[in-house]
Symmetry: C2
Subunit: 558 residues, 2 copies
């Protein structure tokens, strides 16, 4: 078939978010293979952990889409895993960004931090609004989630309609914003939905996530009972939660102080779009210091045990403006993000040690609800939308597979568990993975974007478990030793039986023997010398420490 | 008061286990301060994690008790956090070890591995048996826990009786061994118990842990329903669980194969003490390879996502004798140990990806129960034993604090949250912390026992987040450069804007300028030169990578 004859296709291609919960970067493509037009939905980060030392931020690899015909970037909501990569990746794509006002406000901050705000066209779309990008006619569908202005996207194309749910739950009383627009979803279903690309986070959890209104009631009750100072830790971006806590505080005669940068940042954004009105002013830092304990509630960042966040400082007793102690209370209105269990445990140990009473969703059900749909909500959504194809996203492999099973149980005709980089053709014909494109992660390492499999992190990891041996010596023109042998180590231990200094002296002697034993023809060949020395040192290290450290052999010629 | 006049005291002193769940090492002391006699109860390890790269095993620092008058080491049960340090620490104490047969069997293996079995006197004590060590008259009290032969210790002294609970729960049908000896506990309470040193693991969990018999029923039901191959992951040491799974397998016409070294090790120990009788022989590896899927159940190690364990190999498809795929099942009859969430998630992703159906205690309650007492069980125990003093142990700080609160609610007259190294006087007089002794962790690093705050791990951690710069050059007698400047890095990144090679060349030039700019009086002073170079390189690294790498400056003199 010649290029001209190629038929139009509608494809979906996640570059992030379909092997993980986080780092969302979704592509929709329309047109024949040689001339596709693309829209990007979301551009998020995920975060590094102890397995990526020195790397805090991880972004999807956008290589595939660079240089393609991209019509725009549409952002569904302002969580970091949906917008956090904009500052890192926009310059490689350079197309307008579409977002609702709250999201746009926070994206502008990111672009300002990245120094590229002036270059980017940001188009604010009202809630429920429409936008047309080439063949894609999109309508924002109001859903509910744990942040203001969450949107699904109804994407209409000549080949059919896709509902991209974004992150969602069903909440009839979400506190901020309107409830899930069930009518709009039903109408979409009536119109006919080709495919639904849908949140999988809670696919293993039976029942429903629960309403923010329930949290408001539970928090009001709990805070009303407490004497002493009260700290509440939650995600700053959950403005409904902030609103509930603030009103619970006011109902119990407390004024609210904000601790932590993102509390200030997000409340400013929320006020900008008309949220958090009719509340008393937040306490200033100076007021926090002097207000009586019983009259204060502190809204804190750091629910995940982040060491530099406000709550960790309170736990360490190093916060400049506030302290918690015997008779005080700390409410975790938050979940434990997998991977943070130990950090949160350590934080809670320190708080308990100060005599602070702890409240978590485990022992006080109702003080937190998830922002993602549980199985019952997924069933409802599929009932309303009735897509022909289910495409699970926003999940690790096991979530996507389970979501496919669920969709099949619900009689959805087709369901596909995707991997990042899989390109699925949604129409025409049966849904089918027709291509695999490069996808992966880029690490923000030393201020640079580097491949996840890059040398630098690999070396750091190797050094972190095995240590480093460094040997340096000078050779004269004839390959004879012209200096002492300098032998040093990083990260290798010694003990009373084998002091480290003695071990290094022994190793230096071994190196000397290697150098002295070089054959005439080897004496000119620095590479051969380095190899011979490294080989000997690795063997000796295995004997001394049962390790294979990185060996750096420096041969200087004088 | 002269030494002669000093009164006898009974003291308790944890060197491990009272700031953590794991690494138990408890001391009981009797006598006047200058002439105390000690018994050691348990000698366990904890395990390293990603925050201790290169360190897998961590043991308590026994310095305080070395050289003291120790009468013996009594082991309550055979979990690693109670016996795992014996091979590492016994040589520093060199006293007899007392244990019941199952525990003794496994301790002998450890001592054999450490090459010291011949030096150690191990005295087997029967279940419910007595032992007298100086002023300590001890009786083993039968309790229930997730391993065969779990014991509490009633420790009678002239100054009163202590009940050291060990790890316990209340299980009327523990499958292996006798149920909790409630009569013995009540009788102890009637006699009068001065202090109870008690497990705190589940103090935040309401209700009761549940019975192994319940797990047997749930597993029998579940396994009976399954077609395809079934793998069950659980802790090998939970022999009751193994027994239940084996009988459930047999009831559904399956033969059992063991995958993983500790499955073989523990089942051998269990048979040695008369457990796991009347069952069909385990499948050999060759039989596992050829038996029909529907007729096999695989008992696997690796429930915590350990990368080299049997289940991880099945998930990777690299196990030499077995495989799991579409239509097969994997039951996690285990809990998630905090810190292992991500590893377990990755393991489950791989299994799900192969089409293996997963069953965990989250979605299938009843297929696992804890071995530790929940709050209702703690209440019952306090009701039976009625101690004057509650000493929570086996918990992190928040557990110990909460356990103290619970004990106070239960009207226990005194309750003390200890820290490792705290010495509490139990009698005479009110319980009081009278001393603080050195306590801490020793890391097994490169086959050596090194202090937790040691240089080696500190360097490896620093290198893992910040990288390393190594610069070497030779100077002649007058302090003039006699070689090229060799500049290399470990773990520092480059990108298109700043290739690493260019960055290193620039840095080498900076070093050259530093050396050339040295004042006459500095040219003889290698330390001054190293400092000047390192200072410049750190500053430059901050500029290039926003990092402060370790800088190694090697000055060779020729």
């Amino acid at each position: 078939m010649s290029k001209k004859q190629q038929a139009d296709e509608l494809v979906f291609l996640p570059l992030g978010g379909s092997d993980e919960i986080g780092m969302n970067l979704n592509l929709y493509g329309y047109g024949p293979e040689h001339a596709r037009q693309w829209v990007i939905v979301d551009m998020g980060v995920t975060f590094g952990d102890l397995s990526t030392p020195g790397v805090d931020v991880i972004v999807p690899d956008p290589s595939f889409i660079e240089g393609e015909n991209v019509l725009g970037i549409v952002l569904t909501h302002a969580h970091e895993d949906h917008i956090g990569a904009v500052g890192w990746l926009w310059s490689r794509i350079r197309v307008p960004i579409y977002a609702t006002p709250f999201t746009a406000y926070l994206v502008r901050e990111k672009l300002r931090d990245a120094g590229i705000l002036d270059e980017v066209e940001i188009i604010e779309v009202p809630l429920g609004g429409d936008l047309k990008l080439g063949p894609f006619e999109m309508t924002l569908v109001t859903i509910t989630h744990s942040i203001p202005e969450p949107n699904g996207l109804a994407i209409r194309t000549p080949l059919g309609t896709v509902l991209h749910t974004g992150d969602w739950k069903i909440d009839d009383q979400p506190i901020t914003g309107a409830p899930t627009d069930v009518d709009a979803l039903r109408r979409l279903g009536d119109e006919g939905v080709l495919a639904m690309v849908c949140d999988s986070t809670n696919v293993f959890v039976e029942g429903s996530a629960g309403s923010e209104e329930g949290v408001r009631e539970a928090m009001t009750r709990l805070i009303g009972e407490l004497r002493g100072r009260v700290a509440v830790a939650c995600f700053a971006s959950n403005v409904a939660r902030l609103d509930s806590v603030i009103r619970a505080a006011e109902a119990s005669g407390r004024r609210v102080g904000l601790l932590g940068r993102s509390m200030h940042r997000i409340t400013a954004a929320a006020r900008h779009v008309g949220l958090l009105q009719d509340i008393q002013p937040f306490l200033t830092d100076a007021e926090i210091r002097v207000f009586p304990k019983e009259k204060v509630l502190l809204l804190c960042t750091g629910s995940q045990g982040e060491p530099r966040a406000a709550l960790s400082r309170l736990a360490e007793g190093t916060h400049p403006h506030a302290s918690l102690g015997q008779g005080d209370h700390c409410i975790f209105s938050s979940r434990v993000i997998p991977g943070n269990e130990l950090a949160i445990g350590r934080l809670q140990d320190k708080l308990a040690d100060r005599g602070v009473r702890l409240y978590t969703e485990k022992d006080h059900p109702g003080i937190h609800v998830s922002g993602h749909p549980c199985r019952e909500e997924l069933r409802q959504m599929y009932g309303w939308v009735r897509p022909r194809i289910a495409i699970p996203t926003h999940g690790q492999r096991r979530h996507l597979v389970e979501h496919v099973n669920l969709a099949r149980d619900l009689q959805v005709p087709e369901a596909v568990a995707m991997r990042n980089g899989d390109m699925v053709r949604l129409a025409p014909g049966r849904a089918e993975i027709i291509d695999e494109v490069p996808a992966g992660r880029l690490y923000v390492d030393g201020g640079m974007l580097v491949p996840a499999a890059g040398e630098a992190l690999r070396e750091r990891r190797h050094a972190s478990t095995n240590g480093v041996l460094i040997v340096s010596f000078a050779l004269d023109g004839k390959g004879r030793l012209a200096s002492d042998i300098d032998m040093r180590s990083l990260g290798l231990p010694g003990d009373e039986t084998l002091p480290l200094g003695d071990a290094l002296d022994d190793l230096a002697e071994e190196v000397e023997r290697v150098v002295e034993g070089l054959k005439r023809e080897e004496r000119d060949d620095d590479t051969a010398i380095e190899h011979a020395v490294a080989r000997r040192l690795k063997k000796a290290s295995q004997r001394l420490w049962d390790r294979r450290p990185i060996v750096e052999t420096v041969v200087l010629r004088v």
